[in-house]
Symmetry: C2
Subunit: 142 residues, 2 copies
């Protein structure tokens, strides 16, 4: 497979049906362009947590994130697709951008809504932030 403009694809996951859809589209790119997939879950550190112990809450999110990544990896392997999974902590869009650069991704496929536990209230805010700030192309899946 020759190098193309969809060689390395980053798919941010958050357990929502929107990121599920983004992952499905990503599989179509693998089939068509032989792309390598990177799946990322970002534990949002900037969440203002009053009700729960902060450390405990972050641990819960880590567990949740690892679960999502593992489930996605298994789902893809059943389709014969191998994906690399990455768990990060920090600001969602910043971490996504950092990983996209580090792994030389030329495309980020992101769901239109979801992404971010708190920002789920501000639907689509992360996807639009990524599409504006990212230095690589962004596919917003609806």
């Amino acid at each position: 497979m020759t190098k193309n403009n969809f060689q390395n694809i980053l798919v941010p996951l958050d357990g929502s049906k929107y990121s599920e859809k983004a992952l499905e589209r990503a599989c179509e790119f693998v089939g068509a362009f032989g792309s390598t997939l990177y799946l990322i879950y970002v534990v949002e550190k900037s969440i203002p947590v009053n009700l729960l112990d902060r450390k405990e809450y972050l641990e819960l999110l880590q567990k949740f994130g690892n679960n999502i990544l593992n489930k996605a990896k298994i789902k893809l392997s059943k389709k014969g697709i191998n994906a690399k999974t990455i768990l990060k902590e920090g600001n969602i869009s910043n971490e996504i951008e950092k990983v996209a650069k580090k792994e030389n991704c030329n495309l980020i496929i992101v769901g239109n809504k979801g992404l971010g536990t708190v920002s789920r209230l501000i639907l689509g805010s992360v996807s639009s932030k990524i599409s504006q700030s990212s230095s690589c192309s962004v596919l917003i899946v609806k």
Copy 2:
């Protein structure tokens, strides 16, 4: 070719290098998914024109738009790709969305910058507006 999620693709053109790049990516989708391409140029009617006669200015833009569409069509036909061209007048993102719906497009491929004679000053504003308001997926090419 079976129906897929990238069957009908709309590519807004404005004569900028950014929309050229979007068109190049669109060609890769044709190769991979057998997509049908729709190329659109929108004559921005909402431009506040003081220096020139408004009617004359719009006619110039129409000519410019037709030129861009024709050139793109010729360029694609040399690659063996047939594309449908559409010239519209009105608000850029509104017209793009209307055509996307009318032609049952499931993807809009848009350059990150450019699009819009005046809004070129507000770089990327149209692409981010489309990605937010469009009911189909949007690929922002960088």
